[in-house]
């Protein structure tokens, strides 16, 4: 606690001290007794250490000298008192090293406990953050909070803080003992002390400056390598190797310089402080000798000898303190980033209306409507109405303008338009990944805002353009759509979505383990799996962000058939990249810069001879 106060005073910015208080509360609440036990054991360990130093002086004056005198006087030496003293010291030392072990191990485990808690809290919180957080924050940036930032935090708790406290206590004990011997020599030592502290601060500040620089350069070269190595084949095709090498050398040279400097300053501290200690030693011998011989101050020769012993223990704690201070500051920066994530506002859910699966009828869902204090089950029909919906991701940059759609139960609604026209944004409104600015969206007449978010999302599923899998078996990945589904349900969904065929060709069939990238699966196969996933979820409303550009004809045929099976009997929104798949839609909406510019079915739109007609004829002429 004492240590934390000290650091708090040294860190000037108020928000840093706030972070530190929060951190301290976190550690304390994780395990109060661990913190108390380690505080006691740290003091015991430092005390035993000083007692050991003092014992060596007593050994000579109180035991060896009398023994020698006894021998000189012709008596046989009595080793009894010495044996006793050594046994006592053995006890003191034992307390020392056991305390030392205890605080080391307790702080290490405490650090792990804190780390475990912080990670779990962070992840739990992250899962409740709105989609906008993930759209705005870089993956690497989020990731580094789980790795680098937590690591520095752990380092601080398990090593920096105990060492800091230990060094500070040792320093206090040593200075007290020095003053009791001679205040004049202590004063003299203090001047040297101040000088060396200045040097140490200078060196550690430099060191952390260069380390930051090194991290920056490392980040740059890392980004460069990442980009160039993933594009290595393109580099070869364009014979661009020499230009790349040139750029690489620039980054590499900068990193070499920064890294050389960072490591110089990191290691130079100890030879400098070690030798400063020796310098102090020599100077004290010299000055002390002069003072004693000339009689300028009352100083015994024995006191000088003891003083010399003490001065040796002087310089290392100073170096330690300064170094630990730096890593504490670094850890605070990490903690700030972790807290920043934990302080992000979570998705709000003010909805109260719930939806549940009808346990009796497969594929049927019910609204749970409370009427006169009684819960009434009303079947979900899937009637979606957009009424003058406006939306902007960034205030002032409106993306959707007065969007009105009436999607009757079972209708297939297609959204057509260029990249950036707002097709995906409309689907983001529907499952409330983002909140609309104005207008209303209703689901069977109920405003979306009044529906519990989890239930809303459970009752409409999306098949995304870019499909993501989770490490696990194919079976588990399909079952993600409905954790309660039986194995037979999974098989059936896979058959209906035409994924069954390729799954059987895999080595372990449904038990084949795939990783997040899909392993050896092709993009088309992953898409079939995500259709199966949506199929098993069996929800009344579907959103399909279809992309079949890099799929060969045979697979495309299957994906198409799978999608048709999926859409049957559901209200669906299909984002189309190729018109061929949506000509049979009940309603086609042509979007341009966030406006619906044309609406109608295929024939109506062709008859209009507008935007859609142009799009479609481009293809028609070719065929």
């Amino acid at each position: 606690m004492n240590n934390l106060d000290q650091v708090e005073q040294m860190t000037t910015k108020p928000h840093k001290s706030k972070t530190l208080t929060r951190l301290f509360k976190l550690v304390l609440s994780t395990s109060p007794w661990m913190l108390i036990v380690s505080a006691i054991t740290i003091i015991l360990a430092a005390g035993a250490n000083v007692a050991g130093t003092l014992f060596i002086e007593r050994l000579i004056n109180n035991y060896i000298v009398p023994l020698v005198k006894q021998v000189q006087n012709g008596k046989s030496p009595d080793y009894g008192p010495l044996t006793y003293a050594i046994l006592v010291m053995l006890g003191v030392y034992a307390i020392g090293f056991i305390s030392n072990y205890l605080f080391t191990v307790i702080m290490a485990i405490l650090a792990q406990k804190v780390q475990y808690r912080v990670r779990n809290n962070m992840f739990t919180h992250m899962e409740s953050l709105p989609i906008s957080y993930f759209d705005q924050n870089d993956y690497g940036d989020i990731m580094s909070r789980y790795t680098n930032d937590i690591d520095t935090l752990m380092q601080m708790i398990s090593q920096s803080i105990p060492q800091f406290v230990n060094s500070a206590l040792t320093l206090v004990f040593v200075v007290t003992a020095m003053i009791s011997l001679s205040w004049q020599l202590t004063l003299f030592s203090m001047i040297i002390f101040a000088m060396s502290f200045g040097i140490v601060r200078y060196l550690t500040t430099k060191s952390s400056h260069y380390f930051k620089l090194q991290q920056k350069e490392l980040g740059k070269i890392n980004g460069y390598n990442e980009e160039m190595l993933s594009g290595l084949k393109v580099i070869k095709v364009f014979s661009h190797e020499e230009q790349i090498k040139e750029d690489f050398n620039k980054y590499n040279e900068e990193l070499r310089k920064a890294s050389g400097n960072a490591n110089t300053f990191a290691t130079i501290l100890f030879p400098i402080m070690g030798n400063m200690g020796n310098l102090l030693y020599v100077l004290i011998a010299f000055v002390g000798g002069m003072v004693a011989i000339n009689g300028w101050a009352p100083l015994t020769l024995g006191a000088i000898a003891s003083f010399l012993q003490l001065s040796k223990q002087f310089s290392m704690p100073i170096a330690q303190i300064s170094q630990q201070l730096n890593s504490i500051v670094m850890a605070i920066a990490g903690a700030q980033r972790i807290f920043e994530l934990q302080d992000q506002a979570v998705e709000v859910d003010e909805g109260t209306v719930t939806i549940s699966r009808n346990p009796k009828v497969k594929g049927a869902w019910d609204w749970n409507v409370t009427e006169n204090g009684q819960v009434k089950k009303v079947p979900v029909r899937g009637h979606i109405v957009f009424d003058h919906v406006n939306f902007s991701y960034v205030p002032g940059h409106q993306i959707l303008h007065h969007i009105s759609i009436d999607a009757k139960p079972g209708m297939k609604v297609a959204l057509v338009g260029e990249t950036g026209a707002g097709k995906t944004t409309i689907s983001n409104m529907l499952n409330r990944f983002y909140e609309i600015d104005s207008g209303t969206i209703t689901y069977d007449g109920i405003p979306l805002k009044e529906i519990k978010k989890d239930d809303l999302r459970r009752s409409l599923s999306i098949v995304l353009q870019e499909t993501h899998m989770f490490t696990g078996t194919i079976m588990e990945n399909i079952r993600l759509g409905n954790p309660e589904a039986s194995d037979d349900d999974v098989y059936q969904a896979a058959r209906l979505s035409h994924a069954d065929e390729f799954i059987h060709e895999l080595d372990d069939g449904y038990e084949t383990v795939i990783d997040g990238n899909g392993g050896d699966l092709s993009q088309g196969q992953m898409q079939l799996l995500s259709i199966a996933r949506a199929m098993i979820a069996d929800e009344p409303v579907m959103i399909l962000d279809e992309a079949t550009s890099s799929i060969d004809t045979r697979t495309e045929k299957m994906v198409q058939a799978g999608m048709d099976n999926l859409l049957a009997g559901r209200t669906s929104f299909v984002i189309a990249h190729r018109l061929s798949t949506i000509v049979n839609s009940d309603l086609i909406l042509v979007l341009d810069h966030g406006h619906i510019i044309e609406a109608g079915n295929h024939e109506q739109l062709l008859a209009k001879k507008g935007y859609y007609y142009e799009l479609y004829t481009g293809k028609k002429e070719i065929e």
């Binding site: 090293f97 290490a108 290595l232 364009f238 590499n252 890294s259 890099s550």
Partner: protein, 577 residues
């Protein structure tokens, strides 16, 4: 491995040798200082001899300054030698990667290459720095302190003989029992990072299927696994502190006890006893450091091997000795070409291909995924080398051309294409560094990229983000075509390069290619009949063989595979009408 890595020391050899030299001198002086101070106290202060104090005080002062300078220089020299060595390693790896052929690139994933260039090099750098400084210092300290204590009292030194082996044995036991936990812990980290990665990337799936709780449970399992193992490992490692302190204290008490007897017996002096304490300190301290650095160096051995793997990988394709640096026209001849990606493969990716393409001809290639369409064309610019047979361009075997000449004249727009961070103009100029603005615009016009580029806020100076995420898929494809056109190639290969471009634009691109580049041989791979039906000849690929060659009408009549694909795609287009 060591042989491979040590080749990268090069210009830092001198610094690397200076460091141990400085360290050795520093340790000798450092170990001498307590001895001399003892003299200063015994002879000077105790006897009140001021001249002696002045003389030896000055000598000690100078020695300390020298020792400080040596120590600081050793830090500087070792840090810079190690940083330089690391830079050389990175350079050697990166340069060598640039020599990799596609075959080599396929072997390593790009993320593993990045890790090798950073994390692994960092580990080796740290170990190297230790090796030339602390790993010299610790044994040196050990030797000097043992010698000094033997000089002072051979009999008391026997204590080390008993204690040191016990000490080392205990440390080794601790390290050995804790060490196996770490690979498991690292695996745990991989698993945890994987869950985070999949959740950040797949957050839409998680939210759509309301899987948050299940994912949290998964994460807590992973982080709990780390916690359990790490806590156990920490308990073991903390024993290290216990052993060091306990052994040091016991040694001190043993020296007290036996030393007292020696002094009483008259064979030792008080001052010497005090020196013994500091030397015993040094002995145990240096043993402890030795144990720690040996662990660190063993751990970094794995990194060293991973680096050596990259450097020792032999490029599969090398430039010929006396290369042809001129390629006259776009004629292509496949002469009984067969190809396997891996000699161990049972099935050939290309089987006995015979094909003659005339300069200026437009060739379409169609076939299912896995029918080796891309493999076929990658033989032409030597992305891969044939296993049997030969590919000739303009009458010469492709193996006889200078690689740069060949690839400048055979432009491939790859299926998995990338733009690099930089402006659009910079990206296009990859095709030809010296291209004028007019040439850049002309190429962009042919690829139908000029229109949308001009609409962008900074036109041709618009920055492309890493990964090219600020342009749409179709725009990216058009830019990569323009980039290839700037080479003014004799042969242009489009490997499914217009899949994301809308059909009318795609047709216009094909038309302008035919109009503006009449002499260039054009090879177009596509999944779609519409993209290739106007080609002079169309190749139907099936399981690594050419099933048929002919124009659209011929193939519609006689080739079943071709006509079935055409029929399906026609149905697709006319559905709902």
């Amino acid at each position: 491995m060591i042989k491979t890595l040590s080749k990268s020391i090069r210009q830092y050899k001198k610094l690397s040798l200076l460091s141990p030299l400085f360290v050795i001198c520093e340790v000798i002086i450092e170990m001498l200082i307590p001895y001399l101070v003892g003299l200063l106290v015994d002879e000077g202060i105790m006897k009140g001899n001021m001249t002696y104090i002045n003389k030896w005080g000055l000598i000690l002062f100078v020695l300390t300054i020298i020792s400080l300078a040596l120590g600081a220089s050793a830090s500087y020299v070792s840090a810079h030698a190690a940083a330089g060595f690391a830079a050389n390693l990175r350079q050697d790896m990166f340069y060598h990667m640039q020599d990799y052929a596609f075959e080599n690139i396929d072997k390593f994933s790009s993320s593993s290459l990045v890790t090798r260039l950073t994390t692994d090099v960092n580990n080796v750098q740290l170990s190297y720095q230790m090796l030339i400084r602390i790993a010299v210092r610790a044994p040196m300290m050990l030797v000097v302190s043992v010698i000094m204590s033997v000089i002072i009292s051979p009999r008391l030194s026997l204590i080390f003989l008993v204690i040191a082996p016990v000490f080392v044995l205990l440390l080794v036991l601790i390290i050995k029992s804790a060490y196996p936990y770490f690979p498991k812990i690292f695996k745990g980290y991989d698993r945890m990072n994987q869950v985070v990665r999949e959740n950040v990337r797949g957050i839409r799936e998680v939210k759509t299927y309301v899987q948050e709780d299940a994912q949290i449970e998964k994460f807590e399992q992973a982080s709990g696994f780390i916690y359990k193992l790490f806590a156990t490992a920490q308990k073991l490692i903390s024993l290290n502190a216990l052993v060091v302190m306990a052994v040091l204290n016991i040694a001190t008490l043993a020296i007290c006890w036996f030393g007292a007897h020696e002094i009483v017996g008259g064979s030792l002096q008080t001052g010497q006893l005090i020196s013994m304490f500091s030397y015993s300190n040094s002995v145990l301290f240096s043993l402890n450091i030795l144990a720690m650095i040996s662990t660190q160096i063993i751990i970094s051995g794995a990194s060293g091997r991973r680096i050596a793997d990259v450097i020792n990988e032999k490029p599969a394709i090398e430039n010929p000795r006396k290369p042809l640096d001129h390629l006259t026209n776009g004629e292509i001849l496949f002469d009984h070409v067969s190809f396997k990606y891996d000699p161990a493969d049972r099935v050939e990716a290309l089987h006995d291909i015979n094909l003659h393409i005339r300069p200026g001809e437009t060739i379409g290639i169609i076939g299912e995924t896995g029918s080796s369409k891309s493999t076929l064309v990658s033989m032409i610019p030597r992305l891969y080398d044939v296993t049997a047979g030969a590919v000739r361009v303009a009458g010469h075997n492709v193996k006889s051309y200078d690689l740069k000449t060949l690839r400048d004249n055979v432009a491939v727009v790859l299926q998995k294409n990338v733009l690099f961070s930089g402006t659009i103009k910079e990206n296009l100029k990859w095709g030809n560094e010296n291209a004028t603005d007019e040439e850049v615009i002309a190429a962009a016009k042919i690829a139908h990229a000029d229109g949308f580029v001009r609409e962008m806020p900074d036109g041709y100076d618009t920055m492309i983000e890493q990964g090219g995420n600020n342009v749409s898929g179709g725009q990216k494809q058009r830019l990569t075509i323009a980039r290839a056109l700037l080479k003014k190639p004799k042969i242009l290969i489009l490997d499914d390069s217009t899949s994301a471009v809308d059909t009318s634009t795609e047709r216009e691109i094909r038309e302008s290619l035919a109009r503006d580049l009449p002499e260039t041989t054009k090879i177009i791979i596509s999944q779609r009949i519409v993209s290739i039906k106007d080609a002079d000849r169309i190749i139907v690929m099936n399981h690594g063989k050419i099933e048929d060659i002919g124009n659209h009408e011929e193939l519609m009549q006689r080739n079943e595979l071709y006509s079935s694909i055409a029929k399906f795609q026609a149905e697709q287009g006319s559905r709902g009408e």
